[in-house]
Subunit: 165 residues, 2 copies
């Protein structure tokens, strides 16, 4: 088991970037998990449809603490865990002066991204997961963390195979 | 101007991950660019609609070279450049045995993600850009790189402000 983390902070009068790269070796698949993970890469069939995965597009309005980098990281990690996905890499940027956060969690099953505008109390999330993960559970974790008053959600089936394929 | 790049390769009998993290300090905003970049974080109004940005969801079918990590990185970088966006961070995973690629380019203006299934000749891209960038030009670069026979594209307006807001 190993774990490495790099933090790089760069700033000038008008711009600051916090680069935080965490490589979570200990969450990488073991031999058995790797076999299981490979099946996640395969298309699944459900209710007569064959597709790669589910892509949830979620707009949060009236949300709080969208400038809180620590909460964002925590919520993304917890969302990945609740959805039963596998975190490979997480990367967040913290912008000044508005405190907005842009970043992504790359998963064995695809990704979660976030872009927040704290001054608008608005955040754009997308949660894309393949196989048997449950992306809707990640959305629930994000709702609990940022308490939006209004949420707009689109559920997209990605990679849906046409019947004549 | 500085430029740093880290490459980490980890593998076992069933799983290989190539971690490549490039920090492009010289593309970070200068003083003047930073002022301009801040305006990109602001919502824009076009044809009577106020919104944060455009999110293009693109499914490529019948595509080639979806297991080519070098081409993927090159296409993402060129797509960002053509769209006139600002690359902050790029991260790609290369899976075995199918050669699929998962990864993301984090931008000052949001992100481009990719998840590919070479055995299906299928790739799921999304290109989310705020402000005055042109995400559709990134899609054109990706088409030229991977030559899909069929492309399904959805254009989503993210963060559209309702009239009564």
């Amino acid at each position: 088991m190993s774990h490495s983390e790099n933090v790089l902070v760069t700033s000038n009068d008008h711009f600051e970037v916090v680069e935080k790269t965490t490589i979570i070796d200990d969450s990488w698949p073991t031999h058995d998990q790797a076999v299981e993970d490979q099946t996640l890469d395969h298309f699944i069939t459900r209710e007569g449809k064959t597709f790669a995965g589910t892509h949830i597009i979620a707009d949060f309005w009236g949300a709080s603490r969208l400038d809180d980098l620590q909460l964002m990281e925590q919520a993304l990690r917890e969302g990945v865990e609740k959805a039963k996905a596998t975190l490979l890499h997480i990367h967040l940027h913290h912008f000044t002066p508005n405190g907005g956060i842009s970043g992504v969690a790359v998963l064995a099953e695809s990704h979660i991204s976030v872009h927040s505008w704290p001054e608008r109390n608005y955040a754009a999330f997308d949660v894309f997961m393949c196989g048997d993960s449950q992306p809707e559970l990640a959305i629930e974790v994000l709702k609990q963390a940022f308490t939006p008053t209004d949420v707009k959600v689109d559920n997209l089936l990605r990679g849906e195979v046409k019947i004549d394929d």
